[in-house]
């Protein structure tokens, strides 16, 4: 049964009429053309589909869109609406915190959520926060360097 759901996506109000059981990930990708969030596992075990709902990083592959009525969602596409990169993005670019880049949007959004909640996290906190994010290229050292750089740049907000 289809339902009309209103959400704010990257600051813009959107309404979608769809099966409320569909995962947010598929609605973002198929209905709204926002393909920055990736499918890695479909089970919330890899973090590639991470988006921000309010201030929380969530696995959009296991989040039914029907649960998000009225919520505000941020995806990687909304992080740097102008030409200026978000400090976390800039840090990942500067530290080459990616290889194939498929996990990167999820890594960046998880980092943004972390730094918004805790601007000066310890290494242990960073590692714990990113534990749910797989990088199959195993570029973890550069990812860690990127997050540290973002912390040094003081960077939760642009």
């Amino acid at each position: 049964m289809e339902k009309t759901i209103a959400l704010t996506v990257n600051g813009r109000l959107q309404t979608v009429t769809t099966d409320p059981a569909r995962p947010l990930l598929e609605v973002l990708r198929e209905d709204l053309g926002l393909t920055g969030a990736k499918l890695g596992c479909g089970e919330g075990q890899c973090g590639a589909c991470t988006v921000l709902v309010g201030s929380r990083a969530v696995a959009s592959c296991i989040t039914p869109v029907g649960d998000l009525e009225g919520r505000s969602i941020r995806t990687i596409e909304g992080l740097a609406p102008s030409q200026t990169l978000h400090p976390v993005q800039q840090a990942f670019l500067d530290e080459k915190g990616f290889q194939c880049g498929y996990c990167t949007p999820g890594m960046i959004l998880a980092t943004v959520a972390l730094l918004e909640a805790q601007p000066n996290p310890s290494d242990a906190q960073i590692r714990a926060r990113l534990e749910g994010h797989l990088c199959r290229c195993c570029g973890f050292p550069n990812i860690l360097r990127s997050v540290r750089r973002a912390v040094r740049a003081g960077g939760a907000t642009p």
Partner: protein
């Protein structure tokens, strides 16, 4: 390889907007005219492998001409384009090939535009695998770019009526040293009088810039499209859409070898927007959303009747493989005539079936235009994929085009075209473009695996504790790095194929991981039998100066001798291993701890690795590859194993499979030895091969248990 100064068919010169230094026809019927349409007029240089130097296992293309290795185009707008059939999947080829062209054309790397892996535009220069891009494609691009520079210099010299030696390329221009006057590449590429330049023959091997003069190569140029990756703008194959596109899904057997009997498509076909097809054993659906395609497939699955087939379990698979060794397991010919006082040791090693599990699973988007098929897909093997598609769909090669956007990793696991064939069949049935993007469970179950191995080694030590004979047999997993680098009186190393119960194929470093694990773990057992230190025992038998150099440097950095002098704390152990493969050398030292609080889990605390692959082309990228290899190697060493029973995978999900995560990241000490005097070899594979044995040896050091299988399991 050579730059072919052949001017080819007359049409290419007379009135041509662009000139190829070499012949003009490639697979897929790409003509000079098409290059001109795509890139505009200008100078086009084609580099060929010379016949005998072609990559092993590759046939020549038609017409008896050697295959094309790369093309370089300089447009009348000054754009410099390198066309290569190589793919980018995170390993860094895009940057590295840009650097190669930029170096020889005396421009910054950012001036180079790369066109990669499009079977209509780029040459068929082979699969992206085997660490071949660095030793084969980079030199080809350098040669082509150096030839282009030389042609531009001659064009300028001719125009100014000066000797070619009086001019040189600098920052995208040709400059006359004496007067300072200059001409841009754009102007020269627009001259259209290239034939004149060719009156002076281009030598078969154009001189390239020596390493000591490198300005772009040897530097850490970043990924050219890195910004698109961190903004989400890059479209991976699974991100692509086409107007009217549907999402496809394919019916999978419930177990290996099961045969499909009856199946009812009517429920699925009644769903709005759903196309469902059966063609023999192929059953699939296409629908406007992924959700709908799942529902449609589920409706079909409920009606499908299958006849299962017997299949071994992952516990039985080693006996299964050994029993089916082709021609039987060869006996050790050296065992019969041991010298007096010699001792014979033997051991059997096993490594499990593992999956590559690239984060982006197989994805392909197929679109038909009449009887022409275009597929966008993630594959390391665009031209093999192209042929596979043409065969599977009954098309001539010129009706197929495969385009490979930069994709979400491969590790040797994306050489085959299943998803593309599925998408093409569904798209033909639906009359609309179809994207097939495998689920994680499909990727774990139906992609090919890194083969399991049974490795049997026998070696004898003479009275002085020196290796007197060495007999090594790899059953099923492959011959990569099967030969020992250690001196032994008599040596025989063999790979014996078996009849595997699963689809198996390539993986990062192929069988070198299994072979080096078995060899290096056994070397520690031999060292113990010889009452020698593992490092000293290895050095006493190693002649290869490059392996010695990395091993000695690693031992120094890791303070091996000091660590061996004292007893480590309870539950802590140190181990080392080394090896060589694909023209590079590696040595790894590890410190592990056994955590009694976590069910005796093995914690890898510290890894020191020294790696050398000749002249370093891009230090940051090489370091990333080495780090990636080391950490990826932790997976199959510690946890990763595909378990199966009655034809079903028992752990086809990340949570049960256990790939490395942030918590596995040990302290890393990595040293890249630069050898500007040696040709560059690839660095994306060999750094993985010493990780597992070094851990196995450290586990012995900590626990007294010898390790004979991967993943490493301690007795309960």
């Amino acid at each position: 390889m050579k730059i072919d100064p052949d001017r080819g068919e007359p049409e290419e010169v007379a009135g041509a907007e662009s000139v190829e230094v070499g012949a003009s026809v490639m697979r897929g019927g790409m003509s000079r005219r098409r290059f001109s349409q795509v890139l505009g007029a200008g100078l086009l240089v084609t580099v060929r492998w010379d016949g005998t130097a072609a990559q092993s296992g590759q046939s020549r293309s038609g017409r008896g001409s050697p295959r094309v290795a790369a093309r370089i185009h300089i447009g009348q707008d000054g754009a410099i384009t390198v066309m290569s059939g190589k793919v980018e999947m995170g390993q860094g080829a895009r940057a590295e090939l840009s650097q190669a062209a930029a170096e020889e054309l005396r421009v910054p790397a950012g001036r180079i535009q790369m066109v990669m892996a499009d079977t209509r535009l780029t040459p068929d220069d082979g699969i992206t695998a085997g660490s071949r891009t660095t030793p084969s494609t980079v030199p080809a691009v350098r040669q082509g770019a150096a030839a282009a520079r030389r042609i531009l210099e001659r064009l300028a010299a001719r125009r100014w009526q000066v000797a070619p030696a009086a001019v040189r390329a600098r920052d995208g221009e040709i400059v006359e040293e004496a007067t300072g006057r200059r001409l841009s590449y754009a102007v020269l590429a627009g001259e259209g009088d290239f034939a004149v330049a060719f009156d002076e023959a281009i030598p078969a091997n154009v001189e390239v810039t020596p390493v000591r003069e490198w300005k772009v190569l040897g530097t850490s140029v970043g990924r050219p499209n890195g910004r698109d990756l961190i903004t989400g703008a890059h479209r991976f194959p699974s991100d692509l859409t086409r107007p009217g596109m549907l999402y496809g899904k394919v019916l999978r057997a419930p177990s290996y070898g099961a045969r499909l009997g009856s199946v009812d498509l009517t429920m699925a076909q009644a769903m709005p927007g759903v196309v469902a097809v059966r063609d023999g054993s192929f059953v699939g659906v296409a629908a406007p959303t992924k959700q709908r395609s799942r529902e449609a497939l589920a409706a079909i699955e409920r009606t499908a009747e299958w006849a299962p087939a017997p299949h071994p379990s992952s516990d039985d698979v080693y006996d299964y493989l050994r029993r089916r060794a082709s021609g039987g397991v060869p006996a050790n010919p050296f065992a019969a005539d041991l010298d007096a006082g010699a001792s014979l040791l033997r051991q059997t090693y096993r490594t499990a079936y593992v999956q590559h599990a690239p984060l982006e699973t197989r994805a392909a988007l197929a679109e038909w235009e009449g009887d022409r098929l275009t597929v966008w897909a993630g594959t390391q093997n665009p031209f093999g994929y192209h042929s596979e598609l043409a065969r599977a769909l009954g098309l001539t090669s010129d009706r197929v085009r495969v385009v490979v956007p930069d994709f979400g990793s491969g590790f040797g696991g994306k050489h085959t075209g299943e998803a593309a064939i599925e998408a093409a069949r569904l798209a033909r049935a639906a009359g609309r473009p179809v994207l097939v993007h495998w689920t994680r469970e499909e990727e774990f179950s139906w992609a090919y695996f890194r083969p399991a191995a049974v490795i049997e080694i026998e070696a004898s030590l003479d009275r002085q504790g020196r290796l007197a004979s060495w007999h090594f047999v790899n059953i099923n997993s492959g011959g990569a790095a099967v030969d020992t680098p250690y001196r032994a009186g008599k040596t025989r190393c063999r790979y014996v194929p078996s009849d595997p119960p699963l689809r198996q194929g390539s993986y990062r470093a192929l069988a070198a991981v299994a072979n080096n694990f078995a060899r290096e773990a056994f070397m520690d057992e031999l060292a113990a039998a010889a009452k020698a230190d593992p490092l000293e025992f290895r050095l006493a038998h190693l002649e290869n100066p490059r392996i010695r150099a990395v091993l000695e440097e690693m031992a120094r950095r890791f303070r091996w001798a000091e660590r061996m002098k004292s007893r480590p704390p309870e539950g802590v152990g140190y181990g080392l291993a080394c090896g060589t493969e694909k023209g590079s050398v590696v040595a790894t030292g590890v410190e592990i701890a056994i955590d009694p609080a976590q069910n005796h889990r093995i914690i890898v605390r510290r890894i020191c690795e020294v790696f050398e692959c000749g002249a370093i082309l891009n230090p940051d990228n090489l370091r990333a590859q080495v780090e990636g290899c080391i950490l990826m190697g932790l997976g199959p060493a510690l946890r990763e194993e595909m378990r199966f029973k009655e034809g079903r995978m028992l752990n086809p999900r990340f949570g049960d499979y256990g790939p490395p995560r942030m918590s596995d990241l040990p302290e890393l000490d990595i040293q890249l030895l630069d050898r500007p005097d040696l040709a560059s070899a690839g660095g994306g594979e060999t750094p993985i091969i010493a990780v597992a044995p070094a851990i196995a040896n450290a586990v012995y050091h900590a626990t007294g248990h010898r390790i004979h299988a991967l993943p490493i399991r301690l007795p309960a």
